[in-house]
Amino acid sequence: MLFSLHFSLPPAITPLPFKPLSHVPHHHHTLNMLPSPPVLKSPLCSTMEHFTLNHHGKEEGLDGGVEVDQTLPLGLRRETMPRHVAVIMDGNRRWARSRDLPVRSGYEAGVRSLRTIVELCCKWGIKALSVFAFSSDNWFRPKVEVELLMSLFERGMQEDTGIFFRENIRISVIGDLVKLPQALQELILNLEETTKNNTHFQLIVAVSYSGQYDVVQACQRLALKAKHGHIEPSDIDISLIEQELETNCSEFPRPDLLIRTGGEFRISNFMLWQLAYTELFFAQSLWPDFGEAEFLKALLAFQQRQRRYGC
């Protein structure tokens, strides 16, 4: 796997602070200048300019009738914002290699990118963001790298606790946490407990996670409940399975939009069940380079999609 997450930064790099939530973007007026895009051959790649202006593009006050949502960049519509966005943060190591930097620098740059996206989600009304930080396959990486990631993750959680409280962010961590170092497990449990009543935004971090594992553990729990007589075996249905998935920690367990950076076109065992009707967006940018402009492209592309939920 080509990605991971950690929250910490080394002392040599000044952490970027979260901007206050009332910050208004300066760039939205420039979107007025863009022409309507051509019809595209493939909707996948983020380099396609796959968004259009709608009536929100009119300047406030000129026609007297259209309200412009000042907290959103021009072009984005509040009513069709995804409630839950999932991200596969791929490309940190390639980013570092392309700059002749150590791999650690790639992860640190990835953290900065994550902070930017979390901030934008809070500002633009997205309620939940799930990030694929460490896959169950990543345990196969060299031990030294895995240990580095675990220690960076631990340090990051310790250092960012203040931010979560200030910004009213709830943290949930999903995955097979038994494999994590004991100290990290305790940190996670503590952070989840202390932020569980935060309501503005939820950050779901998938660590030691696989979508297949999630489904298997849900089915195991249900089978055990049936065995102990809490439910009838015939009661087991799709909705019951869904309630046992690890994403039951969220009010919106199914992502509306999945973004994968790094140019690869696959899900890599992330949230399989939950992605049944999710719109997929594959971006060519490496994760550390995925910023506001790229995120906006993805959201605008999402808002163009016609969701049929299988029908």
Partner: protein, 273 residues
């Protein structure tokens, strides 16, 4: 509208067939995907654009699948899985649903003929209890009659969603555990138990999952099995998916192949210690 049964003769003969085989011979120098899965989206848009009678888009789609089977057989692809009808599709207009069911019945007979020409095994994956008795019987008969064929395995996902497939697999696993359980630790359902009882257990995981019609979502198709496979969204609507599109998909696969092979080997080496 009936599918034209002369199509079998047309596909296998003529100069286009010779040209195609030459192209495939060149492609076969590189790795060929073992299993290709397809979400055949865009039939209705095709009919609308061509101003055809409503429902005939699906006929054109069935023809496109037939052509694809022949191409895959010639190219050496061993497994093809096609998303023909989702459980969610039952919510569509009843007339359209009936047309698709009628088309499915005709396709069963055409596939029976094709299976003799190229040793095709046909498998129907899905909750077949939701189908009419006639169609279910015809489908089961075709599955039995072709069970011994092995050149190419076509799995048609009908009355299917992956959520329903997993639910079914869990139910079957629970039943099996109830019947055979001894010690408590043997009664815990494992990943292997679920996979054993999946409708798609007849085929390995797909190497590529293609969606035509320009949408970029899985629509509850092979969520489990496609966890690591390459996804390809093609703007062309399904009835217009032809040999050139397939060639491009295979070239794409060959470009990505070294990554998949390395990853598989790395995981196997580490698992074997």
């Amino acid at each position: 509208m009936l599918i034209n049964e002369d199509v079998l003769g047309r596909i296998f003969s003529g100069w286009t067939s010779i040209l195609r085989k030459c192209v495939f011979r060149v492609l076969r120098v590189g790795p060929i995907p073992c299993h290709v899965a397809i979400i055949m989206d865009g039939n209705r848009r095709y009919a609308k654009r061509k101003r055809l009678e409503e429902g005939t888009g699906h006929d054109a789609g069935a023809m496109a699948l037939l052509y694809l089977l022949v191409y895959c057989y010639e190219l050496g692809i061993k497994y093809v899985t096609a998303y023909a009808f989702s459980i969610d599709n039952f919510k569509r207009n009843p007339e359209e649903v009936q047309k698709i069911m009628d088309l499915m019945m005709e396709s069963v007979f055409l596939l029976a003929r094709l299976s003799k020409v190229c040793s095709l095994r046909v498998h129907f994956a899905g909750n077949l209890q939701l189908l009419s008795a006639d169609l279910r019987t015809a489908a089961k008969k075709l599955m039995e009659n072709t069970a011994g064929n092995s050149n190419l395995v076509l799995t048609i996902c009908v009355s299917y969603t992956c959520s329903d497939e997993i639910l079914h697999a869990v139910e079957e696993s629970c039943k099996e555990k109830t019947e055979t359980t001894g010690r408590d630790d043997e009664s815990v359902i494992k990943l292997a138990d679920i996979e054993k009882h999946m409708y798609m257990a007849v085929a390995p995981d797909p190497d590529i999952l293609i969606r035509t019609g320009g949408e970029c979502r899985l629509s509850n198709f092979l969520l489990w099995q496609s966890c690591c496979c390459h996804l390809s969204s093609i703007f062309t609507v399904w009835p217009e998916f032809g040999v050139l599109h397939l060639v491009k998909v295979v070239l794409d696969f060959q470009h990505k192949y070294s990554y998949f092979a390395r990853k598989k080997n790395a995981i196997m080496e580490l698992e074997n210690g």
